[in-house]
């Protein structure tokens, strides 16, 4: 099975994109998508074929810690090749009411909660983070430059 070693579309996202571009299906309606945090190790664990947040490789933070997925809020994809998309505002999780562990990945999905959410893309964090009780965890807004914010390209 294809394991992720860097930020990329998950299988669900790849299929949605290809079918929309090649006019096989209509794109999903405009809606918010959400950024989850995952404790999966930086390499060798997260599997791009996990279709939903119920996937065994996803390992999302537990919600019984104050944690909740945040609205990703991307800009329009850039008119460039490769075209990129990224969050336009800072994302902040928490405050945490219990220590949620160490996160290594951001995973974009299409629902604010629940394991039925479709997993769209995965983003490897530049460095892992381990928030303590009472902390909030911030991620920078994207700029379109690699390594700043949650940036995805096809």
């Amino acid at each position: 099975m294809p394991l992720l070693s860097a930020g990329q579309l998950m299988q669900y996202g790849e299929k949605q994109a290809l079918e929309a571009v090649f006019r096989k299906t209509q794109s999903p309606a405009v809606a918010a998508v959400y950024m989850a945090l995952s404790t999966s190790a930086p390499s060798g664990v997260l599997n791009s074929t996990d279709l939903t947040m119920a996937g065994t490789s996803i390992n999302e933070y537990a919600t019984a810690s104050g944690y909740a997925r945040q609205v990703y809020g991307p800009a329009n994809a850039t008119s460039a090749s490769p075209s990129v998309i990224y969050n336009t505002a800072q994302l902040t999780w928490g405050p945490f009411t219990s220590a949620p562990g160490t996160c290594n990945w951001g995973i974009c999905c299409d629902a604010a909660s629940g394991t039925a959410a479709n997993a769209i893309a995965a983003f490897l964090l530049a460095s892992s983070r381990t928030p303590a009780i009472g902390d909030s965890l911030q991620a920078a807004a994207g700029t379109g430059s690699a390594g700043v914010g949650f940036l995805c390209q096809v």
Binding site: T63, G66, Y67, A68, Q90, T97, A112, S113, S136
Partner: protein, 80 residues
């Protein structure tokens, strides 16, 4: 409780959500990001664990979503 209902964080001891969980004062940076007493939140939905998801805006103007322990919610939030 319905999606869109607004509540005020009305902690009896005046502490923020993170402060209360930690049991001591937070750093200045984390205090800035805390869900402070007096903050208006909007109920969204319950997650699978039964915690309440609420949206709110922090002191930096960032839109946030936070999961609130339902027991804490019952004693620390009042209808807006």
């Amino acid at each position: 409780m319905n999606a869109g209902d607004e509540f005020i964080h009305d902690s009896p001891d005046g502490t923020g959500y993170g402060h209360a969980a930690r049991g001591e004062e937070l750093t200045a940076e984390m205090t800035m990001l805390d869900l402070k007493n007096g903050t208006v939140v909007t109920y969204m939905e319950d997650d699978d664990s039964g915690w309440h998801l609420v949206s709110w805006t922090d002191d930096l103007g960032i839109e946030r979503i936070t999961a609130i322990d339902p027991e804490y919610f019952g004693t620390n939030f009042t209808p807006a």
